[in-house]
């Protein structure tokens, strides 16, 4: 079989679109002004920032003024959660989230708990779904903020945002609803206003844009206490000189993703199903972690090979130029077992042998065929050593 390089770690980060790289280089060469400067160079940069903001607003179906540029998903989550909780502290001190969230959400909650807030962490079922009824039960008269991730980065479970927001808002329209959409933006249409969302985080490098840039959708009329103090950029919500090339790169990547979304998403689903059926046919003991079948996100597959070590599988696949991850690369390096897999209650053996395979719009059918064949042969090889017990 012809050797190829197959990048299947798109949940960690994606390859930037060539158009994005070109556009960013052009801006760095020609439009390096500070968007706040009063001369022509400044206003050129300002035009780029405002047109990028308009692009994102269009995709969200929101107003331009509802888009705030940040340094990425982590900052958007920190800013939304800590900013809103601190700003509306007088309304109450209770917060709700789930045990499945990204560390930037969980640690923001822990920070707020240290400041005297009370937090409820909802547990998912074994497929990684949060029962909206549980949210209804967790709401109290003191609840100020609910933060729920749309698509989970490790297992791809999808939470029903519309149902969740209607439950929250029925109880009390004054409770704010934040969504970490880092893994879903670009894959699905997302209209925060229709979904009853007050704040929503995205990160450009997850949808073929550059690293170090993200955005927070913040509904008009919702205020927050900024994390940074500075020169008043982004209406003072997120001061700091605008990262013009990255902002433009993000907007372009978002537009390209939305243009390609409809056709590509079906293809991703096909890739995932193909891999699952090919692997489980040869290795029936492989265990699909999290959502089964159509329920999960089309681009994230988490699979365990009991008795093997995820890190060993990862490097064995790397030898064939196939790149996957164990757990999630955001805290790769930490060998603590994944908190997400623990939350959905899988066995210790599955915890240790878990591998995440994540697709993007740039993967091809041929790559998936190659990966399926190699994964199957690598697993067969490794099993020999695991099962030997003279």
């Amino acid at each position: 079989m012809e050797k190829m390089e197959v990048y299947l770690d798109n949940g960690a980060t994606t390859r930037p679109y060539p158009e994005v790289i070109k556009e960013m280089q052009r801006i760095m060469e020609e439009k390096y002004g500070n968007a706040s400067s009063l001369h022509r160079f400044g206003s050129k940069a300002e035009r780029i920032i405002s047109s990028s903001r308009r692009t994102l607003a269009e995709l969200f179906g929101s107003k331009d003024s509802e888009i705030i540029f940040t340094s990425g998903g982590t900052e958007s989550n920190n800013l939304a959660i800590q900013g809103i909780a601190r700003r509306y502290r007088r309304r109450g001190n209770h917060l709700i989230t789930t045990a499945l969230e990204h560390p930037s959400v969980l640690q923001s909650f822990q920070q707020l708990e240290e400041e005297g807030f009370e937090a409820t962490y909802l547990l998912p079922d074994s497929t990684g779904a949060i029962d909206p009824q549980k949210i209804a039960e967790a709401l109290t008269p003191h609840t100020v903020l609910v933060s729920i991730m749309h698509v989970n980065n490790e297992i791809g479970s999808i939470q029903p945002l519309a149902r969740i927001s209607s439950i929250i808002k029925k109880q009390n329209p004054g409770i704010f609803f934040h969504v970490d959409a880092v893994q879903s933006f670009g894959k699905f249409p997302l209209h925060p206003e229709e979904l009853g969302i007050d704040a929503l985080s995205i990160s450009a490098h997850k949808f073929h844009g550059p690293k170090g840039i993200g955005a927070l959708y913040l509904k008009e009329g919702v205020f927050l206490k900024p994390l940074f103090q500075g020169g008043g950029q982004e209406k003072g919500i997120r001061p700091g000189t605008e990262n013009t090339p990255a902002v433009a790169g993000m907007a372009l990547a978002a537009r390209l993703c939305f243009d390609r979304q409809k056709d590509k998403i079906k293809q991703l689903r096909g890739f995932k199903e193909k891999l699952i059926s090919s692997i489980t046919a040869e290795h029936p003991q492989a265990n699909l972690n999290g959502p089964q079948g159509e329920e999960g996100a089309p681009h994230i597959l988490n699979i365990s090979f009991p008795g093997l070590k995820g890190e060993v599988i990862l490097h064995a696949l790397e030898e064939h130029s196939i790149y996957v991850s164990t757990g999630s690369a955001c805290h790769s390096g930490s060998q603590d077992p994944s908190h997400v897999l623990q939350a959905i209650g899988i066995s210790d053996e599955c915890l240790e042998g878990a591998v995440r395979i994540s697709f993007s719009f740039l993967n091809t059918e041929k790559e998936i065929d190659y990966a399926a064949a190699k994964i199957n042969s690598v697993i067969s090889d490794l099993k020999k050593f695991q099962e030997a017990r003279p």
Binding site: E311, V312, H315, G333, S334, K384, F385, P390
Partner: protein, 392 residues
Amino acid sequence: MGSLLLIRYGEIALKGKNRPFFEKKLLQNIKESLLGLEPYRVLFHRGRYYVEIAEDNLFPARRRLERVFGIVSLSPVFTAELDLEDICRQALILLKDNYEPGMTFKINTRRANKKFPGTSPEISSHVGAYLLKSGLQLKVDVHNPEVSINIEIRNEEAYLYTQSFPGSGGLPVGVTGRGLLLLSGGIDSPVAGWMTLKRGVHIEALHFHSPPFTGDNALNKVIDLCRLLAAYCGKITLHLAPFTEIQKEIRLQCPESMLITLMRRTMLRVAERLAKKRNIPVIFTGENLGQVASQTLENLIAIDEATALPILRPLVGFDKEEIIEISHKINSFPISVRPFDDCCTLFVPKHPITRPTVEELQNAEEKLPLKELVDRCLNTIQTKQITAYERV
């Protein structure tokens, strides 16, 4: 005229007939550590080294020399013309650098140049009187001064210095001999390597990895550890031995509980062959006693039996906390705790054997084609030179 650093050494002075050899080695090591900071000049005078170097490079040079074994302390030196008034002026500048109102000081003078007028005490009191009249709030205290200003009257000029920075002590690397260090990515073996270097043994490092399973991150970790150790000895020769095949064979042929001990025995066989090839007479390891189940006395004895070369274990008397303390001191800790699997953690047995007999192990090894395995491993070793600094 560049800036000057005064270098003092300790134990070397005790070494009688070996002294010229030790001094030459230290000079060589000093020069190696200054790679890339050229131009500089190293002078030797009355049992001390002086490094003359561009002022911009004085600080990096001092930081590097602090790591050169054999050096006890370092002082930045000010120079003055052979003129009592210039010496006074320089002494005042030096004092102002460390000035706190009300502080106490003392002057020590060494008059190496006997043609210079006055006795040492006379020079000291003249300079002291000048400082007292300078308008600063100062007091003389000859017994317990907060600042001592040292003046050395030499043939061409006078040297003045006050601050002294501790060096690493130990012996110049290379004077004791050469050793082969088994270097994993963990906390212990780099500390063992540092302690070996400290006693003047130049080491080469041997690392076993399990491609493809261990990945580049694990390899980079070892390279970074070698770079860190190289700051103490100029450069390190790192041998990377692929261990996957041996590991797989042991896994397939031998009882799981003996995996670790059998792996260590095989590693030592490879190490012995490599050491002989490199003309190295001794092996160093970071093994400890009783730290993990595979480091019982019985296991260490069983490991020794696999090689005819002596194995030295500098950490054997340390508690884990003490080892960690050193690893923080030499900065290897943050590298060692990077969480990437090394070859030992690939297939970890659930219950390693703690009291194996040599006979049991030999029986288990009978199923292994040991000679071929060790040969193949040896033939596929990759060797790299790791230096701490680069020529600019």
